[in-house]
């Protein structure tokens, strides 16, 4: 610290270390911030069809059974926005067990919420954005299916995590052959 350059170097080095400690402190205290979101998901119906070409890059998609869901979502996520929230990633996933595959999780709808103004979700009679089908060709033997709304808060500093909000059971029926 005996000359100006030494003092400049020492102060700047310590300033960067303190900056690192500050960012770690912010990242670690963010999950402790309380939030009280409201959430509700209602399912109107599930219709399974087959024989329609869904994915131009998947040769099996024409023969596979695809489920089309009709659902309602009501959620108020404004309290999940704090100073360390960059955006909220809301998605709806269907989880089920199939013969041969223990856990399956298919995302059927998602939305990026960038600020508290967009944080009130109100979907009425919505269909799934992405196709829902089994890894096999049909829904034969598919059990324990449920529909879950997840919110994933993406922070500026820190780790992301999935937060399941609302879960309802559903059944995936087999497709009725065209009469």
């Amino acid at each position: 610290m005996y000359n100006l350059l030494q003092r400049l170097s020492g102060v700047l080095s310590f300033a960067v270390s303190v900056l690192m400690a500050l960012t770690v402190l912010i990242a670690v205290t963010t999950p402790l911030i309380p939030s009280s979101p409201t959430h509700a998901v209602a399912l109107h119906g599930v219709k399974t069809t087959t024989g329609r070409p869904m994915d131009p890059f998947d040769k099996t998609s024409r023969a596979a059974e695809h489920a089309r869901l009709t659902f309602d979502v009501d959620a108020d996520l404004t309290s999940m926005f704090n100073w360390n929230t960059k955006l909220l990633f809301a998605y709806i996933a269907v989880e089920f067990e199939a013969p041969g595959f223990e856990t399956n999780k298919v995302v059927i709808w998602d939305r990026i919420i960038r600020n508290p103004r967009q944080a009130k979700l109100r979907l009425r009679r919505h269909h799934n954005k992405y196709s829902l089908r089994n890894f096999g060709l049909t829904f034969e033997g598919v059990e324990a299916a449920n529909l879950t709304l997840y919110i994933n808060p993406v922070p500026y500093l820190g780790l992301m995590y999935d937060r399941p909000m609302h879960s309802i059971p559903l059944t995936l029926p087999r497709a009725t052959p065209a009469a």
């Binding site: 400049l8 102060v11 700047l12 310590f14 303190v18 912010i26 500093l157």
Partner: protein, 96 residues
Amino acid sequence: MDILKNIFAGGRIDFAGQAAASSLSTLLLAAAAAAALAAGLAVQRLDVCFGVYALGVVVALAAVMPPWPMFRRHPPVWLARCPAPQRRATVEDVSD
């Protein structure tokens, strides 16, 4: 170049001043971080937090980098100059 050398390699302060500069800069940076956290949490904005911290770093640099008179209160006391010793021959005359 000499001007730069005079600016950056100069600015000497005495030993008591160096200890004071070191602890003062540590204290100021820690206080800047605490103030930044408080300010950011109050208005709920991350850019305010890091902006306040940057200002705190500038304040710490301004308080410690220039050779203020308070860092030069106790100049080191050098010993008095001794007369230069006589040059003596290192080889002794050994005659047997």
